[in-house]
Amino acid sequence: MARRAHIILSGTTAQVQKVKAAFLESLDEFGLTDEVDVLEAAEMTVSPRGVEAVVYPDVVHYVQLTPQDAPTIVEEHLYKGRPVGELIYEEQIVEPLEAPSTKEVRVVLRNVGKINPERIDDYIAEDGYAALGKVLTEMSPEDVIAEIKRSGLRGRGGAGFPTWLKWTFARQSSADEKYVICNGDEGDPGAFMNRRVLEGDPHAVIEGMAIAAYAIGASQGYFYVRAEYPIAIRMLRIALAQARDYGLLGESIFGTDFGFDLEVRMGAGAFVCGEETALMQSIEGKRGQPRTRPPYPATSGLWDKPTNINNVETYANVPQILLKGGEWFASMGTEKSKGTKTFAIAGKVARTGLIEVPLGITVREIVYDVGGGVLNDKAFKAVQTGGPMGGCIPEQYLDMSVDYETLAEVGSIMGSGGFVVMDEETCMVDIARFFIDFAQEESCGKCVPCRVGTRKMLETLNRICGGEGKPGDIETLETLGQYVTLGSLCGLGQGAPNPVLSTIEHFREEYEAHIYDKRCPAKVCRALIKYEIDPVTCIGCTRCARNCPVSCITGAPREVHVIDQDICIRCGICAQVCPVDAVSVE
């Protein structure tokens, strides 16, 4: 049913539930239940302020809502048509979701935030399942694969393998049973594109999987979603039940002899399960450890049957390609990287969040035009793409094209779409240490170079950041990095040294400053910095001394204060509380 208004709520789950219940109650009271819809969304803005609500189509943004505010908003705004002034948030204008930043093109995200993911009718109203209908009634599996080939779609999980080729291999494998799997184990730090697609438009992924199943000749599929995404799992389960009700899953779909159904499997907290062979081990109830390839899943995958495994975003593109044609999709992007890509922008950037842009856009356009520039107008230092297996792209490449090939040329990868912006206050050695720490923790332990090598690299980086770096450490990291890359079975180990190697390549002088000058240029590594009070500026207010957690600051009131460097733990609190900015960090 068409609604005249939508209220989209965001905030922490428990609080949102209470406010939502209050809204539903007062809407009922005013007889507006059929006219106004209340939806839950993930976080919408840069700074969530308690429970927030945006009322569409007016785009009025309310903040700090309590259940008591709901009757007021319903009566005044929705019943009488007068937005409630005192609850409106004015500092920041929420753009209507239909009009994203002009550089954005929404294909995968076209419905996210616009439709109610809990209602299949909303999806159908946006041409949902039309592609599946067309495919099943008008196209042969070969036609489908040919259309995907024309589109140039490549795997959005990171590696960028041509989707049509993967499907062709699975189609050509003969077996009594085949499977399709959707990899929703989005674990890259800094990446949350798949979460939003699953939460906001689950049917698009289901439809894409059904089309893939038809193309390769499978009748059963699995969603593998990480347990850290409870809302995504809930939305998927609702969507699957509704699709079954409508006969869009199950036996003889659209009256044809094609039958297909899907099950959701949850992860249990293991990053490596995003690797396709490990993922299948996990579905089979085992430790999620990768195995050698070949055989590839297309010939021997889940339960040794031919299996097609794609990422959430790849499947979400499929229905649109079949509806609008491969040429339409191929008209976006570069020669080898077609279509759009979603990115999760995070870090030191003015506007964080999810974007979708045509491939071939420049890094500068993403950071400055879409992301609104570096936070607080600090200097741009680098952007980290591709998650923990990716690399850092420095300033001199700001104008490079964002596509699979160019990213690889500068030592990074597309990955799943993490895009972490770093400014002058980010220490690249420290960042490399964080990523290698992640990799060594998530290493499944099967390959020694990955298990031990990442550990040794971490120890070396810990020493460098701790002020005990030695000449030769950089070379050791480079050599070890190569061994780990060469000696590991799966993408985790092969890519783990990447953040270290790429920061050494582009920011070698920062490593050298840590090792030889015992200096952290970004003033992050605590063993390499010290806080000092400028005797001229200090007014002797005693505030720093009173707030120092280790009482290392001495000085009488109205006299110059001094920090005892031997006791100081470099927490920086003195600098934060000083009213005259007399504390400097060296």
Partner: protein, 168 residues
């Protein structure tokens, strides 16, 4: 012990005793019981006809499956780079100081467990943490103290109500 058997059996039955449902079974029993004791693991092994060593191997592989009891509230703080560069270190320290325990431990009164987690996909509002099932974003040391105080207050109120109602 009887409770252990009852919870475990119920979950195993739900999955039809299928050995391939091992990961699902472990996670679900874990969610219901808070953690998996040796008794849980032994029962699961028995019911799914799997060696205990394999069941333990799988259980210890996945980070969301606990092999030790956790506190009443579990804080999972994101330790990944995107949260780190927007001020995660200061929040990390504030958490340890506020609860008086290092990461990986549970307070002596059994109220709080302080754990790290991998990315929970809320990087746009980092630093983030989960307290039980709720995500809190844009954290600062002050905000962390407020959030913990809120939970403590709620717990006290709940205890007071329970005492009034004669339930304790």
């Amino acid at each position: 012990m009887e409770e252990v058997l009852a919870i475990t059996d119920k979950v195993v039955d739900k999955y039809g005793g299928d050995p391939e449902s091992l990961v699902e079974v472990l996670r679900e029993v874990n969610d219901k019981s808070g953690y998996l004791s040796r008794e849980h693991l032994a029962r699961i092994a028995e019911r799914l006809s799997q060696p205990l060593s394999k069941v333990y191997g799988v259980a210890s592989f996945y980070s969301l499956i606990n092999l030790e009891p956790l506190g009443q509230h579990v804080i999972r703080f994101c330790q990944d780079a995107p949260c780190h560069i927007v001020g995660g270190r200061e929040v990390w320290e504030a958490l340890e100081k506020e609860l008086g325990i290092p990461f990986g431990e549970t307070t002596l009164d059994g109220q709080w467990s302080l754990l790290t987690t991998s990315c929970i996909g809320a990087c746009a509002v980092g630093p983030v943490m989960m307290v039980d099932d709720d995500i809190h974003g844009n954290l600062t040391p002050e905000k962390v103290r407020d959030i913990i105080a809120d939970y403590r207050e709620q717990d006290e109120r709940a205890t007071a109500t329970a005492v009034q109602g004669g339930q304790v």
